[in-house]
């Protein structure tokens, strides 16, 4: 039963990793941008949530109503003001610029919030649990997983059933021709980044309720996000969820074998999958 428990808890943890990864996957899918600052943006969203809960006195989940639009706006401005200038034939400039952005964000957060670990107070939600068939599941992990599935579903729906999703796919296919059809790719990219950082806001708040955080942990979240994206296959959002779940299970099963083995087990699972299926488990079907 302990092993079943480890797998179930890992699956739920994978929901959080999928939320870390969804924004990365979306940005890469639409504009071939690898955002090194993604983890720090998650942490920044957690801090924004902290500020909102501390000053307005809202429950962290209610703070989403403020943090999600705020992060989306930041995303649009960031894309139009900075990242669009780095996009072109060469993949290096966006990598370097987002790496720099990552350093700036970490130090900015350090200045404003200090290095002390912080945590958001979600009250009874943090310890609530439900018993299910001999297992005890935390309400928060279950809720996180449900939110992850809902977010992935909503992103998928946006991509395939809305005009903006059509624009994302068209621009991703062929930027010049999309521009000929009246789509300004700079604006479309801005919208994609806004959507990605909106998802990042959800990830950041859930992270900040689940564990303590400080300005330095962004890099670790970025790695988990990357691994989930690559395990699942680039550009496939349901694959990203599967990738998050596989990573989560590898970590909890690893921890079950030996508590010190948790993080390493996740990385090993990633390496094995990368070695066997370099394109991930569910790569987007090539056109």
């Amino acid at each position: 039963m302990d092993w079943v428990n480890a797998i179930v808890q890992g699956t739920l943890l994978g929901g959080l990793y999928a939320l870390f990864a969804a924004g990365l996957s979306l940005i890469f899918g639409v504009m071939r941008l690898v955002n090194i600052a993604h983890g720090d943006l998650i942490v920044m969203a957690a801090y924004l949530g902290l500020t909102v809960t501390a000053t307005v006195g809202l429950h962290p989940l209610a703070a989403l109503a403020i943090v999600v639009p705020a992060m989306a706006l930041i995303g649009y401005v960031l894309q139009r003001g900075l990242l669009n200038q780095t996009l072109g034939e060469d993949l290096l400039p966006p990598l370097l610029v987002t790496f720099g952005l990552s350093v700036i964000l970490q130090n900015g957060l350090l200045e404003v919030y200090t290095a002390d670990p912080q945590k958001m107070d979600a009250g009874a939600l943090e310890t609530a649990s439900i018993a299910m068939g001999g297992l005890t599941l935390g309400v928060l992990p279950v809720l996180t997983f449900a939110i992850a599935v809902a977010v992935i579903w909503a992103l998928q729906w946006t991509f395939y059933h809305t005009a903006v999703g059509r624009a994302f796919r068209a621009v991703s296919d062929n930027q010049d021709i999309a521009q000929l059809m009246g789509l300004n790719r700079r604006h479309v990219f801005g919208l994609a980044m806004a959507l990605a950082l909106g998802v990042t806001a959800i990830a950041g708040i859930l992270l900040g309720i689940r564990t303590s955080f400080d300005p330095s942990i962004g890099g670790g979240r970025l790695i988990f996000g990357f691994e989930a994206v690559i395990i699942g296959g680039l550009g496939n959002l349901w694959g990203t969820l599967a990738g998050g779940v596989i990573l989560g299970i590898a970590q909890t099963v690893g921890a079950k074998i030996d508590p010190g083995f948790q993080i390493l087990a996740g990385h090993l699972a990633f390496l094995i999958i990368l070695a066997i299926r370099p394109n991930g488990l569910f790569p987007r079907i090539a056109a």
Partner: protein, 235 residues
């Protein structure tokens, strides 16, 4: 003479240090069908890229309906009512046939062309509307590309090498559909390597050679000799 819908004056175009167009002058009147011919590398595609805004040019070189569009972005040019059927069709592979058509309507211009009208022009597209655009035959893909441009309800439509890579029977079908497109008062520019086809459907013709206009005239007046001289640059 009515005001030209598109007026190109002294157009120079560059790819970095390489100059592709050396002062091209060209105009097209409203409702006219213009043919542009020329060998590979004569500058036809560069001309299309300049007019549509994919290539930026010096100010004052291209006027569309009286407005200087030389330095507008491609999406801004499209909103003014200029649409292109690009060489090689260039459909969006991630989009279905219907979605490809709907992308064309993104500019939000009102007019006679909508999904129903395109399906009436090319009924096969309605049958295939939910298929991936890449699953269609070359000719059907060309229909989608034409329909996609029409969905923008343009005042001027440009066809870049629409017969390239298609079987003769398919080319015949595509050209048979042309009058139904242009009858609505739309102006059209047809860029073709198939000279006979281009002359048959157009009223005037320009020939480009090494980035310059080498011949201009009424399509039914220019002689074979004039064309071959303008086309190949040999006496």
């Amino acid at each position: 003479m009515p005001e030209p819908i598109l007026n190109i004056q002294g157009l120079k175009a560059f790819y970095g240090d390489f100059q592709a167009l050396y002062g091209v002058d060209m105009y097209i009147e409203p409702g006219e069908v213009l043919a542009i011919i020329g060998a590979n590398g004569a500058g036809k595609t560069t001309l299309m890229r300049s007019v549509t805004g994919l290539l930026s040019n010096g100010p004052g070189q291209i006027h569309f309906q009286g407005n200087d569009i030389s330095q507008l972005r491609a999406d801004e040019v499209a909103m003014q009512g200029l649409a292109m059927v690009p060489e090689g069709r260039q459909l969006f592979p991630s989009l279905t046939v219907k979605e490809n058509l709907m992308i064309g309507a993104q500019v939000g211009r009102q007019g006679p062309w909508n999904l129903d009208a395109v399906y009436r022009l090319f009924p096969i597209l309605e049958e295939r509307k939910d298929q991936a655009s890449t699953s269609l035959s070359g000719g059907q893909q060309q229909m989608v590309a034409i329909g996609r441009a029409l969905m923008a309800n343009p005042d001027l439509i440009m066809f870049d090498e629409i017969s390239l890579g298609l079987a003769p029977i398919v080319i015949k079908d595509i050209y048979a559909a042309l009058p139904g497109i242009i009858n609505g008062g739309m102006s059209a520019i047809i860029v073709e390597q198939d000279i006979a086809q281009a002359l048959k459907v157009s009223s005037r013709v320009y020939c480009l050679q090494e980035g310059r206009v080498s011949l201009e005239g009424a399509s039914d007046k220019v002689s074979r000799e004039e064309i071959s001289r303008a086309y190949f640059g040999i006496e």
